[in-house]
Symmetry: D2
Subunit: 342 residues, 4 copies
């Protein structure tokens, strides 16, 4: 096969995650180049982009979609604009890498996915944790049959600190905003679809979160079509850092990933034996996964093949989050069909 | 305080666990002595007891209860006789150490506890895992406040292999027979009472277990009065050994116990880095805990103080197991009040 | 083979280690019984022995050697009496378990071994670490060929705190008193004989130790006849506890033992991730090994077979300690032949 | 302070390590740029460099030294040309980052260092392991006093497989070629100078290595001026991968680094509990350290400050390697003064 041309990217949104994607595209993915970056804070973005050798910075996403040098877009805009930008990008014939979620409303999500389908463009969603070295290795063990049939998946996913209360209010809630990553992880590990959700949630950390109608602590059980069960525990505040662990237990064994740490040095003194705390922040913990996901997307674009995380993954995770929210509120197991409107 | 006299024991039942208790009383607890052992297999028991210097072996439990040299009894008879033996022992004024469960029927359990109360004797139940070195240490961290307020307890409890199907049929089911230990562990860790149970159970290992009306795989969520949530995952078959782990997550941190192993040797070869599997069998894993629990009971008898695991612990665990069974069958959260008949 | 009669023991010396041996013989080794204990502190020993059901306590070792009910003796007297007691026991036809070292003089050691040989009694020396669960497992891996040909052995052996200076003065020095265990461990692991020793020693912890003519920190290289090299590092003071680790590196891989701990609980808080320090004291660390060694000796006596640690092991370790002492003082490699007087 | 201009680099030698340095300078060090690369394989180098946006590729090092756009050079030429290139670069007024060793002859090393001193340029040597995340953390603990006074340093350094025999013949031997990194590591950890060396070396892996006059297995003891002792064990073949571990033991505690692995996933099956082998190859293991060292050098050039690893470090490591070689051959401790010609 002939060497593919580089994929030329336009990036919408140069906030924290947008900048990471741009830097990865520039520095870690030889087959990618960034031709334009769009952000409302044009001046600040321009200064930052110049250091990366990117001259073209625009304020209006339309200038990205209309740019014929752009093969693919990376959408890192605020969540409530994801669907608009996906639809516009699809209509412009651009392949799309979009941060999750597509939208927090089911209808809007379906519209965006329809636009992608109609346009026949490629779509990958930013469920970056699938590309984490530890979790990917466990998934490979499942796929190779090393663990046998999956019986139980245990996921612990705890943030180091709650987001600002203003963010909590518009976040869609702990299931939509935080656990949705874990729902996708469970689906990734099991390789089957969720049929029912039971969630038990509470306010243990900050009463203000409760007053905002949300929870800060949750345990969710997912039942899969193939009989597997996943258990996810979430907390908005693990004082020791970002706690992200996965265990898969199957008929032939178990595999478990621990947290990553900055060093593996163990220190013994008169007082204690200590070792590193988990990496504190998701950007440190998942840094390599962000590069990996765009590397895979870039390859998919070059080869016109299906990207590894697609629209169905976004849709299913959304449905699970909706069912979990309903389950927590009504204290009963909620079939996915119920929220899917089937 | 004057040095207490030794506690003189009569032991009912010299099966696997009964023999362990006798050997611990003889060899590891200086303040205890065994004056009589009762078992229907008198000849075989006599041979075994002789080697321990125990001459008095009887076939009829009455000969234990009527023995005025006996201060306390250890009840290791078959489960369905526990309550009978407890009541007879209580009426004879003997302090009682009884293997769990008291009974698998609520009414009979209450009768046995009433007999204990009426007689004013001391009662300790054989929830030995509370006396395990790892789990006891975590409980101490909770009590000392090191972990802050408990938010989530994660318990993994998996047997190395399912029991014979004939046993399964009379066991009372996975929640009553197996998970009941974990329900007590969760109560021990949290230090509050369970108010509601949701259990999701399935048959993943052996269809015969399903045909017997039982499950072999289960995930249970316990909600506590103080707001804490416990998650327990059970399997009848972990091919790599007896998997017994506990994590407590609280407002100030987390503590987690790994499985015990025969050695801590790590071996690296061209093929792999390997380490010991978990101890395969509950007798190896919990050996020290069996001695510890009788040591504490012996001290309680000497000092006429409340033993560390009492009747309420047996009753609550039974109620949780009943609620879990009902929850799994009806697929809905079941309040403890509902099964308690309140 | 007919079931062997119990081995009847006389124990010389009821200090710290003597009492451990007696308790193990009474409680953990069904095929052993203690018929007489000898200690100059007769009254105190009598009180302690009574609780174990031992009535016969004597002050004069002669009363042990002359006791025809005694099959074997356990010698736990002060080091400078070991050889006297060994010789007297051998001449009385008793099998002998003796704490190490036999003597700190080569000539006296040889005399004692000669007496044993002349009498045809069995002899086992108290190199208990060979019976430790971790180290024994590594040795098994070597014997099974899992690690291939042994190239390098790394032994770390550090005490939690230096002994009293008065003890240091009569101890024979760090190599004779402390490293001698590690010299035996290296021989045990490699399964070949040492031909040359180089030791580098210094005074890093307490100048008084230096003034007493001894060292508190040492690194020793042992060269074996089969080409293997062992490296041992010793310190009289590891503030974090008793540090006892062994690694064997061979042509097919490596095996390494970590320190044992009281629990395997890991605790993560805002400040740190902590775990248990090594067990602080040799009695905790090696408790099981003391029972294991006497169990094996008891079996050897019953079967009249060669015990697992014999006179040659005592002799070789002594020679290595002598060579190490000389090497440290003269700062040159010392062939074992040189100190053996060959 | 005003923002410094980027440091403009010329790179001599585009072999394996040269390319890594160039890629790091291009992609990971914003304050660096590569203006020219020199390699005899001009065509191949040009193709590779073009993908990085580097147009200027030359065959003659002179074209680098004479290039007035070059601020600093990175010397990755064959070892026997290091000194020539250092001297030429110094005379051209370029700051120098040079792979180790400067030369394997003492005289040539001194000449090169003299040229650097005469020219007043900055020099950093490629002892990259000092920049490894684990080892740097241990060094910080030493510097902060957490470990107290350093008593013993244990370094294990084993290659996954021996180099080709042709390479062995010209390598200068195991101490000069391989252990020299560990000698620098020991100096880095202790922060004092070595005064005497004893090395015990053997041929355990491949007789051809012995026939070439070299060893494949070695244990070296370094005595430091401040009383500390370092022990280094080296092997040319650890079948399980690249084994690189360091422990520092001091008056207040110990710190130890384990090997890095690709994932931290643990897998338990019926057969075994397995985890990842150490990263197999030095490029994987130390990848980040290569970027870190050039980042620090770049900052030193910008600020005209002393780089973190200087000429004295190259000289001392060379002297230790010379002393170790002599010690192994003559089987006696060799004072550093002896080889330094003082």
């Amino acid at each position: 096969m002939a060497k593919q041309a580089k994929v030329r990217y336009g990036v919408i949104g140069a906030g924290r995650i947008g900048r990471i994607h741009v830097e990865n595209l520039c520095y870690r993915i030889p087959d990618a180049e960034v031709v334009v970056v769009c952000d409302v804070a044009v001046d600040e973005t321009r200064r930052w982009a110049a250091a990366l050798g990117i001259d073209n910075v625009v304020a209006d996403p339309k200038d990205v979609f209309d740019n014929s040098d752009v093969d693919a877009v990376v959408i890192c805009s605020p969540t409530d604009l994801h669907a608009d930008h996906m639809i516009a990008a699809a209509q412009a014939g651009k392949d799309i890498f979009c941060e999750k979620p597509i939208a927090i409303e089911l209808q809007r999500t379906k519209e965006a996915l329809q636009a992608v389908e109609d346009a026949g463009v490629l779509l990958q969603l930013g469920f970056n944790r699938r590309f984490d070295h530890n979790f990917r290795h466990i998934r490979q063990l499942v796929q190779q049959g090393t663990l046998g049939e999956v019986h139980i998946v245990n996921i612990t996913s705890r943030d180091p600190a709650p987001p600002p209360i203003e963010y909590v209010k518009v976040s869609g809630g702990i299931f939509m905003d935080m656990a949705i990553h874990d729902f996708d992880m469970a689906r990734y590990m099991v390789g089957s679809e969720v049929v029912e959700v039971y969630a038990s949630a509470s306010v243990m950390i900050d009463p203000e979160i409760g007053e905002a109608g949300d929870y800060d602590t949750a345990v969710t059980i997912l039942k899969f079509a193939d009989g597997a069960t996943a258990v996810i525990d979430n907390s908005r505040q693990a004082v020791y850092g970002y706690d992200q662990r996965v265990e898969v237990f199957g008929s032939k064994g178990r595999a478990a990933a621990e947290n990553d740490t900055a060093t593996n040095v163990s220190v013994a003194t008169e007082n204690a034996v200590t070792s590193d705390k988990p990496l504190y922040f998701f950007l440190e913990r998942y840094m390599a996964s962000f590069a990996n996901e765009l590397e895979d997307f870039t390859a998919a674009v070059q080869q016109r093949s299906q990207p590894p995380v697609g629209g169905v993954d976004g849709l299913q995770s959304l449905l699970i989050a909706m069912a979990a929210t309903k389950s927590a509120r009504e204290n009963r197991p909620v079939p996915l069909k119920e929220v899917a409107g089937e």
